[in-house]
């Protein structure tokens, strides 16, 4: 991996950019650098966030200067520390097709697979949380094989519900809140990645892995009705 670019992002931020187009290598490099900086902060650092292909580092202008931040960062980039982080593994019940997955048939056609084959492939894949964004706690998951490289919809779907599984660009977005979207709806979970009032408002972290398990629409509906943000999901932390 070539050295990332160091760019200003506001007066108190440095963007450490590994790539301007998506690659798993850049995403992984960003997550590892963020973990290393979180575990061993540079002086004046106030926040570190891993993105799809970059890391945002914010610093306190009262205690340090951009030049000092850049000077402290450079050796960390030239000799990156491998910093394993405690990623969680999630198993999330989901149903596919029907009113909650209105774009499944079209997505299968674009991928050149049957609906059943597309869903069984998805449910056999350990997806990784590439980044959280767009809405609080909302994951970009990926990446899927090449035949999942499908564009966004030409027109926005006015509303998908929280818990909707959508796809585009070899990625999955699991909506954390009701939203309009240009991504293709495949199905739904009762899993709520963000709940403001919960004891644990955010369930996912960048780097977590997640696998969907097929469930009937009736069971998903009853899990949604129960209102538990976990929505029947199981969590484990690999040793």
């Amino acid at each position: 991996m070539t050295l990332p670019e160091l760019l200003p992002l506001g007066l108190d931020g440095v963007l450490i950019r590994f790539a301007t187009t998506y690659s798993d290598a850049a995403n992984s490099a960003a997550q590892h650098l963020a973990a290393a900086l979180t575990g061993d902060p540079i002086p004046g650092q106030t926040e570190v966030a891993p993105g799809l292909g970059s890391v945002l580092l914010r610093f306190d202008r009262l205690t340090t200067h951009r030049a000092d931040v850049l000077a402290a960062l450079k050796p960390r980039l030239e000799a990156p520390q491998s910093a394993p982080f405690a990623a969680q593994h999630w198993t999330v019940p989901a149903c596919f097709g029907g009113a909650w997955g209105a774009d499944l048939a079209a997505a299968a056609a674009l991928a050149g697979r049957t609906e059943e084959a597309l869903i069984s492939e998805l449910c056999a894949t350990d997806l990784r949380v590439l980044a959280l964004g767009f809405a609080p706690g909302q994951p970009y998951l990926g990446t899927l094989p090449e035949h999942w490289q499908m564009p966004r919809l030409p027109a926005l779907t006015p509303r998908v519900e929280a818990g909707t599984i959508t796809t585009a660009l070899r990625q999955i977005v699991l909506f954390a809140a009701p939203s309009p979207t240009g991504w293709r709806a495949l199905g739904r979970t009762a899993f709520r990645p963000f709940t403001a009032a919960a004891a644990e408002p955010f369930l996912l972290r960048p780097g977590d892995s997640l696998r969907f398990t097929p469930e009937s629409a009736e069971n998903i509906a009853s899990l949604i009705e129960k209102g538990d943000p976990l929505g029947g999901a199981l969590r484990s932390i690999p040793k």
């Binding site: 187009t21 202008r61 767009f134 009032a197």
Partner: protein
């Protein structure tokens, strides 16, 4: 003594705001907080606070309210028509509010966001370390008529009323811009034109302010660009080539390219631009920006230095004729009495 702010009537979009929730970018949660952060620091200066407390933010709308215990209040941000029991209150000042008195706030001539701060701060529900409202995420307190909002005791109730000179940030002007991670993705002539274009403020929300211009949209040749971190102040070029200045509630990650970032010192000017207000973008160097926009914690001391006692201007007293202006005057014929 803690009390309640009783909201008698309230227009749409009023919310409780403080300085927001920094530090959650990795989880997709933006800092949020007051659209005009400077207005909260002005209130802190007027009320003798060491840092801003949660306040009521009123976006181009009015409210009537009263308090259950006496407190000082501060009125800052976009100048509103304010009155206490029908008598005009000076804007950008602190005032005493007694139980039963009706505080009436209505939109004024310029600006967007007016703020009502209380000496002890609003004590509404705190989530993730702040009271700031982000309605879409269920955070904070959207305000409606009939609500009772708890506030803290006034720590120095005998402090006389104060005022600050009114800032000029409510009528548009210059937004200074520093380079960002994607500035180099714009062609030089596109950048030159953006910085030479007279804009008018267009549609806006707490998430962003559209900048409208005569003439062609701004070209961006950045299809397939990977989504990356965005933040308040970023000047984003949408797919139709329209510039949008991102504000407090913008998302944390976005896919549109950004020309640069409006410096924090000028962001209140963008937030306070009413539709149609004239705005310009001016590019400045990082070194110049460092000086022009000191860290926010350093905003307070210069504001405090400008705080002065509020002495009533006779023109602000509507019932001047009812005052006994000649009480105690010498008539000259006392010996005859």
């Amino acid at each position: 003594m803690t009390g309640n702010l009783e909201v008698i009537s309230a227009g749409p979009g009023i919310s409780v705001q403080d300085l927001g929730r920094p530090g959650h970018t990795a989880l997709g949660l933006s800092t949020g907080g007051a659209a005009d952060r400077r207005a909260l620091w002005e209130a802190a200066a007027l009320l003798g606070q060491s840092r801003p407390f949660a306040a009521l933010e009123l976006p181009l709308t009015g409210a009537r309210c009263r308090v259950t215990v006496p407190t000082r209040i501060a009125l800052t941000g976009a100048p509103m028509q304010a009155s206490r029991d029908g008598k005009t209150l000076i804007w950008n000042a602190s005032h005493q509010l007694e139980p039963g008195e009706i505080l009436d706030l209505r939109p004024g001539e310029s600006g967007v966001y007016g703020y009502l701060s209380l000496a002890g701060g609003l004590l509404t529900r705190e989530t993730l370390g702040a009271r700031a409202t982000l309605a879409a995420a269920g955070l904070g307190t959207p305000v409606q008529a009939g609500m009772r909002l708890p506030f803290g005791a006034d720590p120095a109730p005998d402090t006389p009323a104060q005022r600050l000179p009114l800032d000029d940030r409510f009528t548009g002007g210059v937004l200074r811009v520093i380079d960002g991670p994607q500035t180099a993705l714009f062609a030089p002539d596109t950048r030159t034109r953006a910085f030479a274009t007279p804009f008018k403020a267009g549609p806006a929300s707490r998430q962003g302010l559209a900048l409208l211009q005569d003439g062609a949209p701004f070209a961006t040749a950045t299809a397939g660009l990977l989504s990356d971190f965005i933040g308040p102040g970023d000047v984003q070029m949408t797919g139709t080539g329209q510039a949008v200045v991102l504000l407090a509630d913008c998302q944390t990650i976005g896919g549109y390219p950004r020309l640069g970032t409006v410096i924090p010192a000028d962001l209140p000017r963008a937030a306070q631009a009413r539709p149609g207000t004239a705005l310009r973008l001016v590019d400045i160097t990082m070194d110049a920006a460092e000086i022009a926009s000191p860290p926010e914690a350093l905003w307070l001391a210069p504001l405090r230095a400008r705080v002065a006692p509020l002495t009533r201007d006779p023109r602000d007293i509507p019932d001047l004729l009812s005052y006994q202006l000649i009480s105690g005057a010498v008539r000259g014929d006392e010996e005859d009495a």
